[in-house]
Every structure is written in structure tokens, then in C-alpha cells.
């Protein structure tokens, strides 16, 4: 099976997306320096998940006022977060499924079980959430948010980061 990247896009959007490319001329590659059964895994979602009582939601009011702007900031989610701890701020998807089952976007429960079963070494103590709709240039993500996540991964002894676009 080859996944059709346009299967769920509105038809009117497909021509826009078909043309979309990136300016990168070389791949990125960092090898894993140990077996996955000894590696600590971190997770990242772009679904706009945040801790309901401890964090500010992503700034949807500014996006409503400036439709080409998206909140580029980061939320750090602890490994023991559940549906009862989080909410979702994202204007481009139906957020109800994530509120009902966080694992559809940020599978902490699933990866915890993989660690318990010895498939991976460990689930990291912290994980990451961003909001996927961003300004076209992505300057803040490239220059601030991305390096901040990478630094946090190093500090949290994360060996592999699993990213899941919303």
C-alpha cells in the first residue's frame, strides 16, 4: 500500500499542495547509536495540545485577527498526561477525537506500553506540542522553536523523537 497524501484534502486545495516543494537540496540524517530496545523515545504532536490548568492555550485569537499567522510557541507535556489534563487549541482540524483519546495524536499510553514490553528502552519524561499552522517562512520554528526542542531533547536524554503532524 502507498499512502495517498491527498486522500483527505479538500479537492480545491489539491492543486495548491501538488505544487508545494521545499528548498532543501540535501537530506538530514542522524544515526541512532544504540538498539531501540535501549533507546529513550520522545513524542511531538502539532495538534495544539496544552495542559489545561498549567499552560496558556495557543493564541487562536491572534490567528483569527491575522489569518496568515500561527502561534509558533512550544508546550512541554509530561509523560503522565492524560485526556483529563489537556485541551486542544487548533482551528484547522476537528479537535474532539484528541480530547476523547490523546493517543490518536500524542500516543503516550501506547509508547509507555512499548517500554513496559521491552520494545523500546524508555518513554521520555517530557514530550512536545506545537500548533501546526504557521507563517509561510517558518522563521520562528526554524530559528527558535526547533532549536529549543532539540536542546530540551538533549537535556531530557531523548535518543529518538517521533513527530506526528496533525
Amino acid at each position: 500500500m502507498v499512502v495517498d497524501s491527498f486522500r483527505y484534502l479538500p479537492r480545491s486545495f489539491v492543486p495548491l499542495y501538488e505544487q508545494r516543494t521545499y528548498d532543501f537540496d540535501a537530506p538530514v540524517w542522524t544515526p541512532l547509536d544504540r538498539p531501540v530496545r535501549e533507546a529513550t523515545f520522545g513524542l511531538l504532536t502539532s495538534a495544539g495540545v496544552y495542559l489545561r490548568d498549567r499552560q496558556e492555550p495557543f493564541d487562536l485569537e491572534r490567528e483569527r485577527a491575522e489569518p496568515t499567522w500561527g502561534d509558533p510557541s512550544l508546550r512541554v507535556i509530561p509523560a503522565d498526561a492524560t485526556e483529563s489534563d489537556v485541551d486542544v487549541a487548533h482551528l484547522h482540524i476537528n479537535t474532539k477525537p484528541i480530547r476523547r483519546d490523546l493517543d490518536v495524536a500524542l500516543p503516550l499510553r501506547t509508547f509507555r506500553r512499548l517500554a513496559e514490553d521491552g520494545v523500546i528502552g524508555a518513554l521520555a519524561s517530557e514530550h512536545y506540542s506545537v500548533m501546526g499552522f504557521q507563517e509561510p517562512g517558518l522563521e520562528v520554528w526554524v530559528n527558535e522553536t526547533g532549536p529549543e526542542i532539540a536542546a530540551r531533547c538533549h537535556n531530557a536524554d531523548i535518543d529518538v523523537l517521533v513527530l506526528a503532524p496533525a
Binding site: 482540524i93 490518536v104 501546526g132 538533549h154 517521533v162 496533525a166
Partner: protein, 122 residues
């Protein structure tokens, strides 16, 4: 479309990454290291609500790809079916109202159509 850029930044900083995405074509176009394609609607990269089996299958596919990939451009697509028909799933992933950028685009389109429909000034 934007997360592949973030993945590149993090991988370049020395953290191996794997990207689980319903748009694997763009992960490939961004020349990512490891990509898992999922045939799922937006917002639910690991599968349907409450389907622990699907979540585990996707997660294990990502972990296995990290173990086996020997260089950039590694891709595996998950062979699972979404449990409802395409039309229903397409409607279900959409937000309750158009996002601000989509609303702006739709308003501009409607304005252009109204302008086209008006007779020229005499």
C-alpha cells in the same frame, strides 16, 4: 506540511527523528530521514479513537523503521484501513467552522465571483 521543516531542524541538531504523517509525500520532498505514512484523516496520525491496536501498529512501525533504516529517505506505509467510509471520514476531520485562512480565501473567491457576475458599467 510544516512539521517536516521542524523535523529537519531537530535531526540536524543530532536527534534521530521519525515522522508519522498522513502526507508522506511532503516528508519525502523535505528529504527527511525516516517517514511512516498513515492512511488516516488529519488530526489522528496514530489511528481511530480507542483503537489501541491501531495505535500500537503505527507506533511499532515507527520504532521498527528507526531500528532498520540505514540512511535518509527511509519510508514505510502502514497497511490499515480507516473504519468508516471516505466521505464520512472526510467530513469528520474538518473543524466545525472554516479556519481563518480558509475563510479569508473563500470570502475572496465569493467576492470575485460576485464581481464577475455583475454587468459592466455603461
Amino acid at each position: 506540511m510544516n512539521v517536516p521543516v521542524l523535523a529537519r531542524v531537530i535531526e540536524a541538531a543530532g536527534i534521530p527523528t521519525v515522522t508519522v504523517t498522513m502526507m508522506p509525500l511532503f516528508a519525502e520532498r523535505a528529504l527527511l530521514s525516516r517517514t511512516v505514512g498513515v492512511p488516516f484523516p488529519f488530526g489522528q496520525a496514530f489511528g481511530p479513537v480507542g483503537d489501541d491496536g491501531a495505535h500500537r501498529t503505527v507506533a511499532e512501525t515507527a520504532v521498527a523503521l528507526v531500528e532498520t533504516a540505514t540512511g535518509p529517505g527511509a519510508r514505510v506505509d502502514v497497511e490499515l484501513e480507516w473504519p468508516v467510509d471516505l466521505k464520512t471520514a472526510y467530513r469528520a476531520w474538518q473543524p466545525p467552522e472554516p479556519s481563518p485562512i480558509v475563510k479569508t480565501m473563500l470570502d475572496a473567491l465569493r467576492a470575485a465571483r460576485r464581481e464577475e457576475a455583475q454587468p459592466p458599467d455603461s
